[in-house]
Structure formats: structure tokens, C-alpha cells
């Protein structure tokens, strides 16, 4: 990690605190395609990812954790493209987490390259190495045909899983596979197809295992079975850093099916949260229902931890107090003081971001077998490298002896970048000496998360007499990512909380990004588009507030600030460059698609927002209607996105649609609150995800560009809330600065609110 940082920039992998320290995620020096010994007459493996069956079927391995972002389809597409096989001939197989023995100091290296899911890195990570993997297998097949025909390889071509001879003869890949497997490995860099030759990349491609999903056959972590495995449910201390004071398990032990009841240790107060999250009592039974009944029969007295008095209200007071102090300067350009002295106006606003949970549809779970000197883990994961490392550290089993299978995952959203539930499974399996599956309930999930931190964003801008923005200061009070994380002592505090190089950095001469750390009793983690979503609400709401104060049009001001198309340095995840022209491009497209500037009915308004997220560019345009009674209706919802080269348009649209609805759900209603040291929410009724009735159609606008691809899982999230509140302001004159919106609009609309965004600034000092 330090080596990476000293290289000057945070790499993509640095974003994943867990998996990046896992050797597998870092070592991409792969030995593909080194074939297994030839198997005459049988199926033939060519490299790590490709197997050719005797019946001609091309089996391509999918290396990533499929959490709904589509990598089980899109990553094999990259291989198939360069292998030059028709997609219809491809069967995709999920690969396990792969480590192989090597001469590395650790004694092993990654077999398949990066396998974790986080930071929208799967496609950019795979773009070169997986296309190479396909190209190198094709190279082998061409060499094999060249041998067979005694023909120079450069005179041969490939098409549809065949090698073609100039005289019209053809040999299928299946016919060539055995000979190809005897050849020495391909050179390091085989030339790749030009874009004009693509037949799979860029084609709308459906989810590869859709049939298994719709028939109920697709296996998720929670569906995994090992014969003889027991099921464990854990009663966790509801107070963070608390402990079990007294336990009466007599009733629980009498529940039929219950086998064992015992205590589970939790983290030391204040220590790094690199195992399980909470002390508790495990109930191990023959099945889930018995375990759960057993848990309900427990009588436990808890010792509240040091955070027992903490609350959301206290957290907000601490954050507000922090804003009154001086923090750590993440970036400072120019002279803000001089700009303020010369200013005609100062605009200031404070935005409030709530704590959020992940609420994956599939609750956390892990099935583990530790009976031999080897281990088997089957679980829904985002960071298998981190799980491998953790199991090894907890059991002493060498990492290559830990088999990790990667079933489909019922949603990730960043929750499963943590492997606390794997640690629990290890602790329970060590105690019961049998394979065991730990299953969480929804209540367990909402109350024991690594939450998106709470934050206050204070923004201040100064305007010159002619209305030009002369300075911009963004101060953030929130819980740092290094808070209770291991091995991050040297990291800057603001990483994950402040976005020093984000818009409008580099676009305003006098600029400040400042961070004020605020500690809190709950664990903090990563939620879809973590920093971008956290930051964009404040920045993109404030651009509108500044525009209104300056008497400018919000779109025009954004485009003016972005200025000429150019690259700006961006040091955080998704960098090293941010292209202002691409950001302007998605903004223009969204505005055009929604009909920005057209005359609207009374009570209607349009709002915009754009943001750079993990290497991709997205903008939202909302048209909303706000009634006199404060009822909000989403009339139009446009999402414009530029992720560079598009691998799977259907998948990209799905991610944008889904992230937009996720963003809407979150902006409207979601928050976690703490009172008396405990999380107040416990199940979906008080963490109300959007339902069908409230989900709008999402008009996705794909802005094509020639840049290499970014990922797509997170870009659609950050701009939803600010575009929505900007539209609400345009419709009603009411400025929302605190999320979620909740009932803030009820009964609020004044009779003289104007449909155009020309109201006085909300805060004008």
C-alpha cells in the first residue's frame, strides 16, 4: 500500500482497504495461458480462463464477484471478443477465488487477477488483461493451425471459433485445442483487435445466467450446502463495543434442533475493526428456524460500551462544533482571504448527509468448513482476497489451502467489502468443530453495518460585482475512513470524506478543501459511490444556490466553471485525470434530453447535476412537480453517462437505471439514526426502500466516447439527490439541504413560489 502511495497517486486498488492488502488483488503477473497437459479426446483447458469442449462449446471463466453489476457477463465478453468466438457458442462458468504457487515472497500469486467487486474497477482492470487473455489463447490456436497446415501463422485468420486457411480450408478451435495445449506460451503482448473489428464488445448482451435466475436454480451464498453443516444465528450486542454481562441460555438449549450455545468475543473498544463487529451469543442448530427460535429464547444482559450515551443528535452537535474550528487542509489554491475582501457577495450553506445502511437483499451469511488442514468458504462476497487473508490469520491455514467459491451475490453496494460475517463463521466453526453456516436476519443487518458516515458540508463562495465566482471553500466534518481501520496510520484523514480535486477544483482560482474529523461510535464503511455520493449532493446543490445568488442560469454557470475541455489532475480513486469536457458533455446531453429551458407548468421545475465518479462521468436531469400540499412527483428523469468504451449497453443501462432508483430511494427516505447508543431502525418498514409505485422510468442517455472504459456500477448514484433537490427548488422555491427529504416538503410550498430558479439565495451573509 505504501509503495503504491509513494508512486504519487492512489491507485484503483488502494480504494479497497481490505482487498488491496490481499496479495491476490495486487499481483497481476499472471501465467496465462499455460495449459494443463494435453488431454487427447477430452475437453482442453487453454490458459486460466478458457476451456474448449470436444463438442465445440467454448467455456469461459468469469473471475469477478457477481453482485448484480453484471461482471459475470461483461468480463467473459472481453475474453470472447479477442478469442474470436461467437457469444452464442460461449458457456460462462464462475471461477473460484484463485491462488497458485509461485516464486513470490508469499509463495503464491493470483491465478486469475483481480476478483473483488468494489470501486467500479472490474471493467477497467479487466479491459487490458482479459482481452489479452483471449488474444493469447487465439494466438495459440493459430500457431496450432500453422503447424497442422505447415503455413506461416501471419497468413491465417480466425472467425467464429475457426482458424481459416487462405485457400478456404477451416479448422475449428475444438479440432485445434489439443495441439494448441502442447505449445509454449504466447508472447506477453499479442496485438488486439481494432475497435472496428468488435463483434461482442458494444453489443447489447443479456445476463448470462438469466435462465438459472428465473428458474430459481442460481445459487447465492445463502443457498450453499455442505452435508452435515449446522446453521448459526448470533445475538449481537446492540451497543457498539458492548459486551455480554449475563447469559441465561437454559430455555434456548431446550429448543428442539438447538445443538450448542456459546459466547462470541467482539472487538476491543477502540481497536481496529478487522474481524467481527460485535460481541454476542451464538446459537447453533440443525436449521435456521431452530437457531432463530433458540436465539429468541436467550436471556442476555448487555454491558453497554463506551458509546452507550451516543446519539445522532450528539454526533450532529459534534460535527457542527468541529466546523467552528480549523481542520486539515486537503487542498488550497490562490488566496481566499483576498477574494473575500474583494467580494460583492458571500454565499454560504450547510448540507447534512445522514448515516446510511447497505440493506443488501441477501442478508450477510457465510458457510465454512474447517474440519481438515484445508478450509472451504462459500459465501456472498465482494472481497474474497480479504476473506482469504482473514481466514488464514484466524486459523493458521495457508492461503493456497483455503478454497473460496464465489456464488452469485444478492447485492453488494459495498457492504461485503467487509468480511466481518466470515470472521463470525470462523469463530463458530472453530467452536463447534463442524461445518457451519452463519445467517443474518434483516434486523441483524440493519443494526450491525459499516455505515455510510454522517457528515456536514459547509460551502462558501464569493461573487465579484459582475457575478463571477471568485472563490469556493468546501469544509467537511465527518468520520474518517481510517477510523478504526488497520494499517492506515499514514493515510491522509480526508480520504473518503473530502474530495479536494473534485469539481470545481481547478475551475475556481481561489479554492479550499478542508476536513474536520468527527469520531462516532458506529463503524463506518463504503456505500455505492461512497465519496462521490457524499460530496456531490453538497457541491451540486450549492452550484445552483450560487447561480441563483449571482442571477445566473445553473446550467450556464456549470458550463462556465468547467470552461474549455481539458484534463485536470485528480489524485483520488478514478484519477489521475478528470476531463472537464466529458463532464460538460454529459451535462449538456441530460439538459438537452429533458428539454432544459422550456416553459414549464406552474409547480413544475427542472434540476441538473453532474459528477465525476471513479473514472466515469454522469449527469441527471429531473423534472418534478410539487403540489401546494408538498406532494412531490417525478415527471421526468434523465441520466446521461459517459463511461468511455461501452462493453455491454444493456448492462450499462441497467446500472444507470438501478443506481438512479437507488439514489432516489436514498434521497427521499433513507437514514439510520442512533439513540442511547443503539441503532433505531430494525427492518424494512423503518428503512423504506422505494417500491414499484414510486419508481419512475429512467431515460438513460449513453454518451459515446473513445476513452478506455471505466466501470459503471456507481456513476449513476451521486447526481440523483442534488438534481432532485435542484428541481424541487425550481418547482417550489424550497431548498432542501438535509437528506433524506422525508416530509420536509409537506405543507411548505408558498403560494407565490415561482417555477423558475430565480428566488433569493437561501443564505446570504
Amino acid at each position: 500500500m505504501n509503495a503504491l502511495r509513494s508512486a504519487g497517486a492512489l491507485s484503483r486498488r488502494d480504494f479497497l482497504s481490505v482487498s488491496m492488502t490481499a496479495a491476490g488483488a495486487l499481483m497481476v503477473s499472471l501465467n496465462w495461458p499455460r495449459a494443463a497437459p494435453a488431454q487427447p479426446g477430452g475437453s482442453q483447458s487453454l490458459g486460466a480462463f478458457v476451456r474448449i469442449e470436444t463438442d465445440g462449446r467454448i467455456v469461459i471463466g468469469a473471475r469477478g464477484c457477481e453482485i448484480g453489476q453484471g461482471v459475470k457477463t461483461s468480463l467473459p465478453m472481453l475474453i470472447a471478443e479477442e478469442l474470436d468466438v461467437p457469444w452464442s457458442a460461449v458457456t460462462v462458468e464462475q471461477l473460484p477465488y484463485g491462488l497458485v504457487a509461485s516464486h513470490d515472497p508469499a509463495g503464491f500469486t493470483s491465478r486469475y487477477g483481480p476478483q473483488g467487486a468494489g470501486g467500479s474497477t472490474s471493467i477497467p482492470d479487466g479491459w487490458n488483461d482479459l482481452r489479452q487473455a483471449g488474444a493469447r489463447v487465439r494466438w495459440l490456436l493459430v500457431q496450432a493451425a500453422a503447424q497442422a497446415w505447415q503455413q506461416p501463422p501471419d497468413q491465417l485468420q480466425t472467425r467464429d471459433a475457426h482458424v481459416l486457411h487462405p485457400d478456404g480450408r477451416r479448422l475449428s478451435y475444438a479440432q485445434l485445442a489439443t495441439r494448441a495445449a502442447t505449445l509454449s506460451a504466447a508472447p506477453a503482448d499479442v496485438s488486439l483487435k481494432p475497435k472496428a473489428g468488435y463483434g461482442i464488445i458494444g453489443q447489447p448482451t443479456r445476463v448470462t445466467d438469466a435462465r438459472e435466475i428465473v428458474t430459481g436454480a442460481a445459487a447465492y451464498g445463502i443457498d450453499a450446502v455442505i452435508p452435515g453443516a449446522l446453521t448459526a444465528v448470533i445475538a449481537r450486542c446492540p451497543y457498539f463495543d458492548g459486551a455480554v454481562a449475563q447469559l441465561d441460555d437454559a430455555q434456548a438449549r431446550r429448543v428442539p434442533g438447538v445443538r450448542q450455545v456459546f459466547r462470541i468475543p467482539g472487538p476491543q473498544p477502540g481497536a481496529a475493526l478487522d474481524r467481527n463487529l460485535a460481541a454476542g451469543v451464538a446459537v447453533v442448530a440443525d436449521d435456521f428456524w431452530s437457531a432463530r427460535k433458540g436465539r429468541e429464547a436467550l436471556r442476555i444482559t448487555w454491558t453497554p460500551g463506551p458509546g452507550a450515551q451516543d446519539s445522532s443528535a450528539a454526533l450532529e452537535r459534534r460535527a457542527a462544533a468541529a466546523l467552528a474550528t480549523r481542520g486539515k487542509i486537503a487542498r488550497q489554491d490562490g488566496d481566499l482571504e483576498a477574494a473575500r475582501k474583494a467580494a460583492a457577495r458571500v454565499v454560504e450553506a450547510v448540507y447534512v448527509m445522514p448515516l446510511l445502511a447497505h440493506a443488501t437483499m441477501e442478508p450477510p451469511n457465510a458457510l465454512i468448513d474447517l474440519r481438515s488442514k484445508q478450509a472451504l468458504l462459500v459465501a456472498s462476497l465482494q472481497s474474497p482476497g480479504g476473506a482469504s487473508q482473514m481466514i488464514s490469520a484466524m486459523t493458521g491455514i495457508a492461503r493456497p489451502d483455503i478454497e473460496i467459491r464465489l456464488p452469485r451475490v444478492g447485492g453488494g453496494f459495498g457492504r461485503r467489502l467487509q468480511n466481518d460475517f466470515v470472521a463470525e463463521a470462523v469463530l463458530v466453526a472453530q467452536a463447534v468443530k463442524a461445518p457451519v453456516k452463519v445467517v443474518w436476519t434483516r434486523e441483524d443487518d440493519l443494526q450491525n453495518d459499516f455505515y455510510r458516515p454522517f457528515g456536514l458540508h459547509q460551502l462558501t463562495a464569493t461573487l465579484e460585482p459582475q457575478g463571477r465566482v471568485s472563490s469556493w471553500a468546501h469544509r467537511v466534518a465527518a468520520t474518517p475512513r481510517k477510523y478504526r481501520a488497520a494499517g492506515m496510520e499514514e493515510e491522509s484523514d480526508w480520504i473518503g470524506c473530502a474530495d479536494p480535486d473534485g469539481f470545481p477544483a481547478g475551475c475556481v482560482a481561489n479554492y479550499l478543501s478542508e476536513f474536520l474529523p468527527v469520531e462516532f461510535s458506529l463503524a463506518r464503511g463504503w456505500l455505492r459511490g461512497p465519496l462521490p455520493t457524499f460530496s456531490a449532493f453538497a457541491v451540486q446543490s450549492f452550484v445552483d444556490e450560487v447561480a441563483i445568488a449571482a442571477g445566473a442560469d445553473p446550467l450556464a454557470l456549470r458550463l462556465e466553471l468547467l470552461g474549455a475541455p481539458r484534463e485536470l489532475a485528480y489524485r483520488d480513486h478514478g484519477g489521475p485525470k478528470l476531463h472537464t469536457g466529458r463532464l460538460a458533455g454529459v451535462l449538456r446531453r441530460a439538459a438537452q434530453a429533458v428539454g432544459y429551458g422550456r416553459k414549464l407548468s406552474s409547480g413544475h421545475g427542472i434540476g441538473l447535476a453532474s459528477h465525476f465518479t471513479h473514472g466515469g462521468y454522469a449527469a441527471h436531469a429531473f423534472e418534478v412537480a410539487v403540489s401546494q400540499a408538498g406532494e412531490l412527483e417525478v415527471v421526468r428523469c434523465v441520466c446521461a453517462v459517459d463511461v468511455g468504451q461501452i462493453v455491454n449497453p444493456l448492462g450499462l443501462e441497467a446500472q444507470m437505471m438501478g443506481a438512479t432508483i437507488d439514489g432516489l430511494s436514498t434521497a427521499l427516505n433513507l437514514q439510520i439514526t442512533v439513540k442511547d447508543g443503539r441503532v433505531e431502525q430494525s427492518n424494512f418498514p423503518d428503512y423504506p426502500l422505494l417500491r414499484m409505485a414510486a419508481a419512475p422510468e429512467v431515460e438513460v442517455q449513453r454518451v459515446g466516447s473513445e476513452f478506455p472504459p471505466s466501470g459503471a456500477g456507481e456513476m449513476g448514484m451521486p447526481t440523483v439527490a442534488p438534481a432532485l433537490v435542484n428541481a424541487i427548488f425550481a418547482a417550489s422555491g424550497q431548498r432542501i439541504r438535509r437528506l433524506p427529504i422525508g416530509d420536509q416538503l409537506k405543507g411548505s410550498r408558498t403560494a407565490d413560489a415561482r417555477p423558475c430558479a430565480r428566488s433569493p439565495p437561501a443564505s446570504d451573509t
Binding site: G68, V214, G216, Y220, V225, D287, M361, E362, A659, N683
Partner: protein, 155 residues
């Protein structure tokens, strides 16, 4: 006392805690894991099955209540190797992202189409199954596609 019922057209019998929800019988005993656990309180719909042809939330349906009744799960929706039109529409519209809630969504959709063969927007809005991935727009398209297919089959 044994609880006798039909499960995907097969006779089944259960002897055990009659208060155990059907969901956990399906998942842990019958090993039919296509029906999913989401909330345990009948709110999210991931566990939706059909009981005597009507959608029911199996996580809050005790085994005692399935005595003498016919239970259909996602695994029993396709007949004779042919997907139900709703399943086919889910593939054609590329609905699934993580896919975890989709069995419940499809069971709810089949139930809706049985009651409302040509569902209006308002009818679609009565579906309360949660999808954390936000696939609702494609679910709506898939239901309309399946409705058209089913109508064609009835002609």
C-alpha cells in the same frame, strides 16, 4: 401430527414444529432454495410463493397453514421444461441484476396477471415486492410483455 400438502405438484408431508414458516421448510428441508429470505416479516416479498394459486409470503406462513393446500415455488413455475411466459419475459427484458428478489417478483407477477390479465399502471403499482437493485422499470416491461404473450396463448 403430520402436515400433508402438495409441493410443486408432488405430495409432501411434514412432521415438525408447525409454527415453522413455510420459507424455512422450503429452504432447509425441501432444499428448494429459489425462494429467498429477505426480511422475515412478510414485507419485502423475496419469499413469495403461491398457495392454492395465490401469492403468499412464505416467511410469515406457518407450516400449520399449508395443510391440505397446494404450494408452488419458483422451481415449479416452468412446466414440462417450458418456461412460464413471465419467466421468459424476465429473460427477454433482461430484468435481473443481482437477481435475489426476482423469484418473488415473478411469483407476484404471475399472481397479478391471473387477477388482471391486462394490468394498468395502477395495477402494476400495487406490487409491493422490494428490489434493492432498482429493476422496477424492466419488471414493468416484462410484465406487459408476458401479459401480451399470455393473451395470445388464450386466443
Amino acid at each position: 401430527m403430520a402436515i400433508d400438502f402438495t409441493l410443486n405438484q408432488q405430495r409432501s408431508s411434514y412432521r415438525g414444529d408447525p409454527s415453522m414458516p413455510l420459507l424455512w421448510y422450503l429452504r432447509d428441508h425441501a432444499r428448494l432454495t429459489g425462494t429467498k429470505f429477505g426480511c422475515g416479516i412478510g414485507y419485502c416479498g423475496a419469499c413469495t410463493v403461491h398457495i392454492d394459486g395465490e401469492a403468499a409470503r412464505s416467511c410469515v406462513t406457518p407450516m400449520s397453514r399449508v395443510a391440505g393446500r397446494a404450494v408452488t415455488t419458483i422451481e415449479g413455475l416452468a412446466r414440462g421444461g417450458r418456461l412460464h411466459p413471465v419467466q421468459q419475459a424476465w429473460i427477454d427484458e433482461d430484468v435481473s441484476q443481482c437477481g435475489y428478489c426476482q423469484a418473488g417478483q415473478m411469483m407476484a407477477a404471475v399472481d397479478l396477471l391471473a387477477r388482471k390479465p391486462q394490468p394498468s399502471e395502477a395495477d402494476l403499482a400495487t406490487l409491493t415486492n422490494l428490489c434493492r437493485c432498482g429493476t422496477y422499470p424492466r419488471i414493468r416491461r416484462a410484465i406487459r410483455r408476458a401479459a401480451a404473450q399470455l393473451q395470445g396463448e388464450r386466443r
